[in-house]
């Protein structure tokens, strides 16, 4: 209950940081969705696990800043692997993504098991990066989450028109001097930042939902990309807020350790999607029934 009453500095910053994270992933996810690269987000998120574990094994620290560097590195590596496989072999993007995702995640699971059974101290909580647990986050981690989220939001804010042109018509953009290669690299990098920041609260397995569901819900309400970005950020923020709050309100006893935050955040996002699917003013089902025979 203390979390909702905002009576401690820590609970306030837990809420603020997950809300910012929800906003950032909503906005970054909008562009990966429009670029049709949503599953790369899943790949990058799963691939961050071996990075975290390796960073922990090398540094023996729980400092989230260090761990997230490992996460970002292995996430980018997996994204690079997918594009290299597509470019140099006959393997298509879907298969390449599944291949990289499962391989990196398997590596991550093996490493985290190694860490749990190893004599290294201060290892508690490494496995919480798989499903996320907002209640175990310490203050220092939260500063990283806040910083990274603000960074991702500002990059998209600054380069909004560049990303729009990349997603809509990359050849035309290239003809105007906006290199698709460079813009894709920037987009993939902030995607990795964003998934890394989402690990403590949402976890590697489910963070992709925060990247896909808010923009997909926003699409049902509007045909304007700017409104869509704002709505997507709002849905992401509210999902993170409500999910975290429910998780904190869950009674926990010695026999029942409460529900992890990640699934609750995702289920909240999914309920926003269902509401949007029904009532969305632009492409929702009711709207479609009303304008039957009209525009899509």
């Amino acid at each position: 209950m203390s979390l909702l009453l905002l009576d401690s500095y820590n609970s306030r910053i837990v809420l603020i940081s997950t809300m910012l994270l929800g906003m950032a992933s909503g906005i970054v996810g909008l562009f990966t969705l429009l670029r049709r690269r949503s599953l790369i987000g899943d790949c990058v998120a799963h691939a961050s696990l071996p990075g975290i574990c390796t960073a922990f094994l090398m540094s023996h620290t729980r400092d989230f800043f260090v761990l997230s560097l490992g996460a970002i590195f292995s996430g980018l590596l997996s994204a690079w692997l997918v594009s290299a496989l597509c470019a140099r072999t006959k393997i298509k993007e879907d298969a390449a993504t599944a291949l990289a995702l499962s391989t990196f995640f398997a590596g991550g699971l093996a490493l985290s098991k190694m860490i749990q059974t190893s004599p290294i101290g201060n290892k508690a909580g490494i496995e919480s990066y798989i499903f996320g647990n907002a209640s175990t986050i310490i203050q220092q981690d939260l500063y990283v989450v806040v910083g990274v989220s603000l960074f991702c939001i500002s990059v998209i804010g600054l380069m909004f028109k560049e990303f729009v042109i990349l997603c809509f018509d990359q050849n035309f953009g290239a003809s105007q001097g906006f290199s698709p290669l460079l813009l894709d690299l920037i987009l993939m990098t902030i995607l990795c930042f964003c998934t890394a920041a989402g690990l403590p609260a949402v976890g590697a397995v489910l963070i992709v939902a925060l990247l896909i569901i808010p923009p997909a819900s926003a699409r049902l309400w509007t045909d304007n990309i700017r409104y869509m970005a704002a709505l997507s950020a709002l849905f992401g923020m509210l999902s993170a807020l409500i999910g975290t709050a429910i998780s904190a309100l869950m009674p926990s006893s010695p026999s029942f350790s409460g529900l992890p935050t990640g699934p609750l955040i995702v289920l909240t996002a999914a309920s926003f999607f269902i509401v949007s699917l029904l009532f969305g003013t632009s492409h929702g089902l009711l709207h479609r029934l009303n304008t039957k025979g009209g525009m899509r």
Binding site: I165, F168, S175
Partner: protein, 265 residues
């Protein structure tokens, strides 16, 4: 003699070690209205993309107004094929045309009132002003083509490269586009367009590039748009050859008429 707008020198482009364009040498003179003609897979779109530096050629180079610098490429207005983009994209007509200003704005900067004024003018030129706020998925094929042309106009370039601007559009749009192209030519702009309808080439264009992996011919319509060259370009496909004969006949008729008028004048 007009100065050269585009010079293509020894250009070869390959995809996966398969040649798409082979040893192309040609020049497009400034102020000309040129059609690129050739069968499917002849490398027409590839030639346009290579001219803008969107593809890395295996050998050779393209120079724009005697410059191979990347900056020169930005003086090109590009009209890609309509099918190359997702028309369900959440964006309005106005915003698509505004993209034509992005190259001039450069990184990070936002469009100004002046940019929006130019966009309004360009929408007017293609007769799409009343659709400015519409979402692009609500447009017909002809309207989609019009806004792509408006976007290139908003760039205010000296050279226009258009990939099949006449494909799948209604007659009214076709007339509008022809008027726009002729107007641009009058203003001294250079236009190169991939074109499929052989019959309209003599009336729409003054120059033609015949392409089939290699360059078959390049020059004025009356000089190189001949049955012999078209046969070389398209091979022995009969239906096309019939079309060709017809096109050449009407073309020559028109040309004779033009010369007669000139004599009279």
């Amino acid at each position: 003699m007009q100065p050269t707008a585009i010079e293509v020198h020894d250009l070869c482009v390959t995809y996966d070690q398969k040649p798409v364009l082979w040893d192309i040498d040609l020049t497009v003179s400034s102020g000309s209205l040129t059609a690129i003609v050739g069968p499917n897979g002849a490398g027409k779109s590839t030639l346009l993309k290579a001219a803008m530096g969107l593809l890395q050629p295996t050998s050779g180079y393209v120079s724009i107004f005697d410059s191979t610098a990347k900056r020169a490429v930005r003086s090109i207005g590009y009209v890609p094929q309509r099918e190359s983009v997702d028309w369900d994209f959440p964006i309005s007509v106005e915003e698509v045309v505004l993209m034509g200003r992005y190259g001039r704005l450069g990184l990070f900067r936002r469009p100004s009132k002046y940019d929006r004024k130019i966009v309004a003018e360009c929408l007017d030129k293609v007769q799409m002003t009343e659709y400015a706020k519409r979402q692009i998925s609500q447009l017909s094929g002809g309207q989609q083509q019009r806004i792509f042309i408006a976007r290139a106009l908003a760039q205010q370039p000296d050279i226009y490269l258009m990939d099949e601007p006449f494909a799948g559009i209604d007659a009214a749009t076709e007339n509008t586009i022809v008027d726009i192209l002729k107007g641009l030519q009058k203003d001294g702009k250079t236009i190169v367009a991939v074109h499929h309808d052989l019959q309209t080439i003599p009336s729409y264009f003054d120059s033609v590039i015949l392409l089939n992996l290699r360059l078959i011919a390049c020059g004025k319509v009356q000089d190189v748009f001949t049955a012999e060259n078209l046969q070389k370009t398209f091979g022995g496909r009969l239906t096309i050859l019939d079309q060709v004969t017809e096109a050449v006949r009407t073309g020559q008729q028109r040309h004779t008429q033009d010369s007669e008028t000139e004599v009279k004048g």
